[in-house]
């Protein structure tokens, strides 16, 4: 386990370095330079003053050669200093630190709604024996994924905020201010959970061990809960990284619509203004989140299925190669064991 963790941490560091470097290169390949935007003119579209641009470039060290800027930025980043926003002059850590709680709150409620809705829908779709109802319920996630977040958000606002005045339209804090944006964001994410879990439940249900369990006299509900749910949920955990990506990307739209001061909106304004230090800080933050989520998921697998832990041990003794996250053959093994 120690070696496994060391490997994962080394992997995480590599991912962070790559994220930093790629974002640095991409941002510097863009046609405009951020200082001319910051030096005025961006608001009205009227031209900026060349002297002011030169002054600002010197201030942020942007007049130095590219490789030198890269080393300086990397060195600072290693010490936890991500620099200053070119637009507002705030430190990057401060700007992100102020916006993070709002987005974390939004993400937590979103996941709760999405999990309850997605799992509920998947259960309903696979439990019913009526084909028409099963087909109808199974088709719902496609709609959830297809409807643009922007549209859902404005629709919910129109009804719950402008018409019935049940929730604030902007700047929401607390539960009443977070419920509408979380619902908006939970719709596509819950849909993905429902889709993946439905197919997991259906596949597992078709395995021979289910027949064995049913033949032994277990009720359908009992078999589903005791034997099917755990292995069927593994693919859902596998896509956790994708779901986190959905939340981060969706937050950009949702936080703009609901005027929430979160990381998504910070991303949007920073990208529009090409505020390179802020964008880089957000890229790094996203990388940390992805790496952490995937690590946590990998650690959850053994809890869901003891045989994966057994494989960890075999990896350590070198008897078997392969990623512990590989879940493709799990249902087969489950079937064998049953």
């Amino acid at each position: 386990m120690v070696r496994y963790l060391t490997l994962r941490v080394a992997q995480a560091i590599w991912v962070l370095w790559a994220a930093f470097t790629v974002s640095f290169v991409v941002l510097y390949l863009l046609p405009a330079d951020p200082v001319s935007i910051a030096a005025g003119g961006a608001e009205t579209g009227s031209p900026a003053d060349p002297a002011a641009i030169a002054e600002l470039q010197a201030r942020y060290g942007l007049d130095q050669p590219l490789w030198q800027q890269y080393w300086t930025a990397l060195g600072h980043a290693l010490r936890g200093d991500l620099g200053y926003s070119i637009v507002t002059g705030q430190t990057v850590t401060q700007a992100i630190g102020e916006t993070l709680p709002s987005t974390l709150g939004l993400a937590a409620l979103t996941l709760l709604f999405a999990a309850v809705g997605g799992v509920g829908l998947a259960f309903a779709a696979t439990a019913t024996r009526r084909p028409w109802l099963r087909n109808t319920l199974a088709a719902l996630p496609s709609i959830g994924v297809a409807v643009p977040t922007f549209f859902t958000g404005l629709l919910l606002l129109q009804l719950f905020s402008f018409h019935w005045r049940l929730a604030p339209a902007f700047g929401g804090h607390g539960f009443s201010g977070t419920v509408l944006p979380a619902l908006t964001l939970a719709l596509p994410i819950g849909a993905v959970i429902a889709q993946v879990l439905t197919s997991g439940l259906e596949n597992t249900w078709r395995q021979p061990f289910v027949d064995v369990a049913l033949a032994k006299g277990g009720s359908r509900w009992w078999v589903r809960r005791k034997h099917v749910l755990r292995p069927a949920s593994i693919p859902t955990f596998t896509i956790a990284g994708v779901l986190v990506g959905h939340i981060l990307a969706g937050a950009v739209v949702v936080e703009a619509v609901f005027a929430r001061p979160g990381v998504g909106r910070l991303t949007q304004t920073a990208v529009l203004a090409q505020d390179i230090p802020i964008v880089q800080g957000i890229v790094l933050l996203s990388a940390v989140i992805f790496v952490t989520v995937n690590l946590v998921v990998d650690l959850i697998y053994p809890l869901l299925d003891p045989r994966i832990a057994a494989r960890h041990r075999s990896v350590r003794t070198g008897t078997e190669q392969g990623s512990p996250a590989n879940t493709l053959d799990i249902t087969e093994e489950v079937a064998l064991r049953a």
């Binding site: 030096a39 009227s46 900026a48 003053d49 002059g89 705030q90 404005l154 402008f162 703009a256 005027a259």
Partner: protein
């Protein structure tokens, strides 16, 4: 704590708005006049369309930033939005030297900053010195106003003498600007970044009580304020107890929040929202921005626009009335000169800009541009085709330029649209990579013509010296006599058009959506909001 109060205020506002159901008249222009005598008190909740970039008036340039920062500082002078005249504010009187290099201000007595320190001539010196220290990068507009600044001398406690190394006649108007608003030493001693965190100390009618970058700004009334400008509608303290600015980027949400009573006023209301606003008893407050109206600035070194006759022919080829009627709506105006109609010294040149496609065709025929097979004119194998680089900083830009494209096609000119992001637009403009560049600039002083059109200025025309024009633009800076200066600015507008250096289209207007309860919310001379006289009725 602030959050809770905010929610209570939101609830109260919702109830108030729910009880007003009367249909609205067609009063979309001015403030409602029949609401009775002003009542002090209350919180005005305002929705900004984008975040203020900084809490410091000196570093402010965007409209949304200025709506906030204008309220916390007083300026040496104020500018009458009706006449453009400079009127007393912190300075009760002033003298300008004969060559517009020295300006002496006599300050009002007993004025204090919000931290209790007194306003003195030294405050003026420290404010202006700190602006030059911020530099053109952090405070581009303020440093432009203080061009060739030598220093400020405190002649006595309440007399400040500001000196420039070269004539700077625009400075008197600039002394009325938010950017040159006087701040206390608690602020002016700080570095640029720390002046952005909402700690600014001014002598204005409101003070910051909370400032969260990208989120909100809360201003409260300054008790005991008694040194308002001569332009203000009343004496003493402001009426409003509090102004809550919240950033609401999505325009549909701003309008919905206004009509459902969650906000009292919002920025950048769209013309198409007008029926919704009127149905909710709200109004649209508008004013045309002074400065250079929207238009095309030709690069005279590239393509057919090198030909002065082509540039001349473009002026009558554009139907500006149609642009306004089709794309923008009644609160906008067609451009009628190189300056917008609300700029002091504006010269009405609408006869030169009258729509006359026959005249355009004749000019092009005479210059040897003859229609080719596809209707686009050709001369010596060159097609009469040029591009325009523009960005969507103003939502109507694309539709307007598309309509101009159709209008120009009718006279045989091919306009190619090059819509770019704001960053790329800046890059293209720096590289002078465009046939023409489309934009506008807001400034309530004709000196904006010098910034935009002299060879030494930004010179997006990429032109050589034209003595008859450049001399006029430079001389207006040394004309201490206002009448003489305005005459020079009038001449400059005409010469810019005659050289085809600006092809104007429409004047930008500010459009503020305001609930029926918002009274006397006014625009200052530079078309930014002044909340001092604003009050809430029917609370």
């Amino acid at each position: 704590m602030i959050r809770t109060r905010h929610r209570i205020a939101t609830l109260a506002g919702a109830l108030a708005a729910a009880s007003t159901l009367a249909a609205c008249g067609s009063d979309t222009g001015g403030a409602g006049g029949d609401a009775g005598p002003p009542q002090p008190g209350g919180t005005l909740r305002y929705g900004l369309s984008s975040a203020p970039t900084c809490s410091d008036p000196a570093q402010a340039s965007s409209n949304q930033t200025l709506y906030v920062t204008r309220q916390i500082v007083d300026s040496l002078t104020d500018q009458d939005p009706e006449t453009g005249e400079i009127r007393p504010w912190l300075a009760r009187s002033w003298e300008a030297g004969p060559d517009a290099k020295v300006f002496t201000f006599h300050l009002a007595d007993n004025v204090t900053f919000s931290d209790g320190s007194p306003l003195t001539a030294d405050s003026v010196r420290k404010t202006f010195d700190s602006i030059t220290k911020l530099g053109a990068a952090k405070a581009p507009l303020a440093n432009g106003f203080l061009i060739n600044y030598v220093g400020t001398t405190a002649v006595d406690k309440l007399t400040a003498r500001v000196e420039f190394s070269k004539p700077n006649a625009q400075f008197l108007q600039a002394s009325a600007s938010t950017q040159l608003g006087i701040q206390g030493e608690a602020t002016t001693a700080k570095p640029a970044e720390q002046r952005c965190d909402g700690s600014n100390v001014g002598s204005g009618p409101f003070v910051y009580t909370a400032y969260r970058q990208d989120v909100s700004a809360t201003l409260t009334k300054r008790p005991g304020y008694a040194w308002g400008s001569d332009v203000f509608g009343h004496k003493g303290e402001a009426y409003l107890d509090r102004i809550d600015f919240t950033v609401v980027p999505e325009s549909g949400v701003r309008t919905g929040s206004l009509t459902s009573g969650q906000l009292d006023a919002v920025s950048d209301a769209l013309p198409q929202d007008l029926p919704l606003l009127e149905a909710a008893n709200a109004r649209l407050l508008t004013t045309p921005n002074p400065g250079v109206p929207f238009g095309f600035q030709p690069n005279v070194t590239r393509g057919p626009l090198r030909d002065a006759a082509v540039r001349q022919a473009l002026l009558p080829a554009i139907d500006r009335r149609q642009l306004v009627d089709t794309v923008l709506g009644p609160q906008f105006k067609p451009a009628s000169s190189t300056l917008a109609s609300t700029t002091p010294g504006y010269q009405d040149l609408s006869t030169k800009l009258a729509y006359d496609p026959a005249k355009a065709r004749t000019l092009l025929d005479q210059a040897g541009w003859v229609p080719g097979g596809d209707g686009i004119r050709v001369k010596n194998g060159e097609r009469l085709s040029f591009n325009v680089v523009f960005s969507q900083v103003f939502a109507g830009n694309k539709a307007i330029i598309e309509l101009v494209q159709q209008q120009l096609r009718k006279v045989g000119v091919d306009l190619r649209l090059d819509l770019v992001s704001v960053p790329e637009s800046t890059a293209r403009q720096n590289a002078k990579d465009y046939d023409s560049y489309y934009y506008n600039t807001t400034r309530a002083d004709g000196d904006i013509l010098r910034n935009s059109f002299t060879v030494e200025g930004r010179n997006l025309n990429v032109r050589e010296r034209i003595p008859a024009l450049d001399e006029v633009l430079e001389n207006q800076l040394s004309a201490a006599d206002t009448t003489a200066r305005l005459a020079l600015i009038r001449t400059a507008q005409e010469r810019i058009l005659d050289n085809g250096l600006w092809i104007p289209t429409v004047e930008l207007s500010q459009a503020i959506g305001a609930a029926g309860t918002v009274q006397d919310l006014k625009f200052e001379a530079s078309a930014r909001l002044q909340f001092f006289d604003a009050w809430l009725s029917g609370r």
